[in-house]
């Protein structure tokens, strides 16, 4: 079938063109972003990076974006999600976690908006304890619940209205919260 070669040739060239435009050129532009954003964000610490992996494993990205749009595009600023994002906010992000869904609020700056680790733990354990209308899944399997008059261990959190039950975060839960509280994309680019 000799006519087929035209289609092989044509189909390859359109794909080559699009690879060039959407993979190669942006990749080459990336080095400028990295230089420009040198001090806009700090690299993740080891714990934060592990927390980031937990965020990925449990699919937080399917409900939460990490990108703030310009005021013309939406009321992002009004909801307190922070200033519009810049490319340099993401230079340590691999895999990227921009997200395309806002079933839940944007988390670009959750560390500024909600610095309390205890809040995060209770919320992750069961979001409806703190936010009754929430449809976010709970992650109770990341916690151990221990009854007691006093805190059974350091870092235990008292569950409100539960007659003295305490929440003990697992390693996964602690590092996830370390990650969440480090998300502060408000730095000015020098």
């Amino acid at each position: 079938m000799k006519k087929a070669y035209i289609f092989v040739f044509g189909a390859s060239s359109t794909l080559l063109l699009s690879t060039f435009l959407f993979v190669i050129v942006p990749r080459l532009g990336q080095s400028e972003v990295v230089q420009e954003g040198r001090s806009a964000q700090l690299p993740y610490t080891e714990v934060q990076a592990r927390g980031r992996a937990v965020y990925i494993e449990y699919g937080c990205i399917y409900c939460h974006s990490q990108q703030v749009r310009d005021p013309v595009a939406g009321a992002d600023g009004h909801f307190g999600w922070g200033r519009p994002s810049r490319p340099s906010d993401y230079i340590y992000d691999r895999p990227h976690l921009l997200g395309t869904s806002r079933t839940g609020p944007d988390l670009s700056n959750i560390g500024l908006r909600q610095p309390s680790r205890d809040w995060h733990h209770l919320h992750l354990y069961n979001p409806r304890l703190l936010v009754p209308w929430s449809i976010m899944p709970g992650f109770p399997f990341l916690y151990r619940v221990v009854p007691g008059e006093q805190a059974p261990a350091e870092g235990a959190i008292e569950i409100p209205n539960s007659k003295g039950n305490w929440l003990l975060p697992s390693e996964k839960a602690s590092s996830l919260v370390e990650y969440l509280t480090c998300l502060k994309r408000d730095g000015e680019t020098p």
Binding site: L15, F20, L21, I56
Partner: protein, 509 residues
């Protein structure tokens, strides 16, 4: 920097050269698409006769049966994945309005099941069904038996194994974390090899054929088999990319799974079955050329419209908007071709349920593609982005169009492969109506919910809470539609089991 610059110039030069020489080739061979090629899919005496799902006198029997084992293997695998994938879809959907549904265990958490749903549907159901139907179509159109079909058992098993492993990986936390590319990368390597093992016999079959005409369906199939493997390999080189730039690559790939893999396979089947069933060639063979090349050029560059509003370079955003709007050209040409052909034979729709699946699919292709052009425009995107509208659109395209076309294709192909007719045509009809009502309920409900959500997310006097609460009834609506879809799949599976069961029983007696 110098090597980079040289690389840019080289790639750009190469692609421009390729395009120019391609245009020259087209001009020199104006006869590339002689109208009689449109009739190439008919054997003598078939033109003008409608062909229903039963096969009174199958002139293609020897070709159909030349690779029937592997084709059956692919099609049955696809149906298995479909059942699993859509069950997961329904569970995920219920979790949206009842977050505690099925309890809160690690492997039952929303984030994992949603990922399973998407990957099983994309790489289990859609890919297997598309591959299986291509394997059935290529010998028919090229009029030669499939070359070395035995290797396909190995390819199919590797692919099945890869999808299984990928899913187990996701459940136990091995994921690459990029949407549509979640399978852990070594497993993607396995899938790539399996894919190559399917492509080789297909390419060789095409190459060995003496057939004069290269029918439209083959353009799409051949191109899809070139595009997808390359995309898949490039997109899996995660180590090259970071941050926003990785986002661009991610969505370039994700949209191309639809545009350059599933869509061309689906369109190829429409281009084959629509004329085949009605008994008349497609309305305008010349027009199909525009449809194909338009798709090749525009569709490959639309992906970044998933990231409008994010800090991607402005030119990337603008380019993908232009290309998304440009998609209207191939979509409208294909629409004219398909809908005029169908409109001329409306009567056949009453007799042939398969044609109903195909025509419904073709209609949804037009609707979902025009939707795509619309919500790529910034004004509309500001509302629809980040909302359930996108999910509604994804299902309209992948279910309303591709899955419906694949259902039709399987209903047409299986009796010819097994040489036995469907026992209960009424159940095929039931499948159609359940699926059609289901997807329309799903898409309309979630479409409205998405727009309301989007308006609430733009309302700077409102709260986030409102944007969530306004969607709740529509999320329940989605679960209703999804239940109908799942029910229709059970009917589908029953029909197939019945056909297989009778074949096996007959063989024994």
């Amino acid at each position: 920097m110098d090597t980079q610059l040289a690389f840019v110039i080289l790639t750009f030069g190469a692609s421009v050269l390729a395009m120019v020489s391609f245009v020259v080739a087209l001009i020199q061979r104006q006869v590339l698409v002689p109208p009689q090629a449109a009739q190439a899919i008919f054997s003598t005496g078939e033109m003008g006769c409608t062909e229903l799902e039963s096969r009174p006198n199958n002139r293609w029997k020897s070709l159909d049966q030349s690779a029937r084992g592997p084709i059956l293997y692919f099609l049955l695998s696809s149906v298995g994945w479909l059942l699993l994938g859509s069950t997961l879809g329904l569970i995920v959907s219920i979790k949206f309005h009842h977050p505690e549904f099925l309890g809160t265990r690690d492997f039952l958490t929303f984030g994992k099941l949603r990922t399973l749903h998407l990957n099983i549907i994309a790489y289990g159901w859609l890919s297997f069904a598309g591959l299986g139907l291509s394997l059935w179509l290529v010998p028919r159109i090229m009029r030669v038996p499939l070359h070395k079909p035995k290797i396909l058992y190995l390819a199919g098993s590797m692919w099945n194994f890869g999808v299984c492993l990928g899913c187990l990986g996701i459940l136990s936390g091995y994921t690459d974390g990029l949407e549509w590319l979640e399978f852990w990368w070594p497993i993607d390597g396995l899938l790539a090899v399996a894919g190559a093992l399917v492509a080789i016999p297909l390419f060789q079959t095409i190459w060995r054929s003496q057939e004069k005409h290269f029918y439209v369906t083959m353009w799409y199939t051949l191109a899809a088999f070139i595009w997808f493997p390359v995309l898949f390999v490039i997109a899996n080189m995660h180590f090259l990319h970071t941050g926003v730039q990785q986002g661009i690559v991610n969505w370039w790939f994700a949209h191309n799974v639809l545009g350059l893999w599933v869509t061309p396979l689906g369109l190829g089947i429409v281009y084959y079955l629509l004329p085949k069933i009605t008994g008349y060639p497609i309305f305008s063979y010349q027009l199909s050329l525009f449809g194909f090349w338009g798709l090749a050029l525009f569709y490959s560059q639309v992906g970044a419209h998933h990231l409008l509003g994010s800090p991607i370079p402005t030119w990337v955003a603008n380019l993908s908007i232009v290309m998304s709007v440009g998609m209207a050209i191939p979509v409208i040409t294909v629409a004219i071709n398909h809908h005029v052909s169908a409109y001329r034979h409306l009567g056949v729709l009453r007799q042939s349920v398969v044609l109903r699946f195909i025509v419904f699919g073709a209609m949804m292709y037009t609707v979902s593609s025009l939707q795509g052009s619309l919500h790529s425009l910034r004004t509309f995107n500001y509302i629809s982005h980040f909302t359930h509208w996108t999910v509604s659109h994804a299902h309209l395209g992948l279910y309303g169009f591709t899955s419906m076309v694949f259902f039709g294709g399987i209903y047409f192909a299986l009796p010819r492969l097994l040489d036995r007719d469907w026992e209960y045509p009424g159940l095929i009809n039931l499948h159609f109506w359940l699926a059609a009502t289901g997807i329309l309920t799903y898409a309309v409900s979630l479409g409205i919910g998405g727009i309301l959500q989007g308006m609430a997310l733009r309302d700077s006097s409102g709260t986030f809470e409102q944007s969530l609460k306004v969607t709740l009834p529509y999320l329940v609506g989605r679960s209703l539609g999804g239940s109908l879809m799942l029910l229709s799949h059970l009917v589908f599976a029953f029909n197939i089991c019945d056909l297989l069961g009778r074949t096996a029983r007959e063989k024994r007696s």
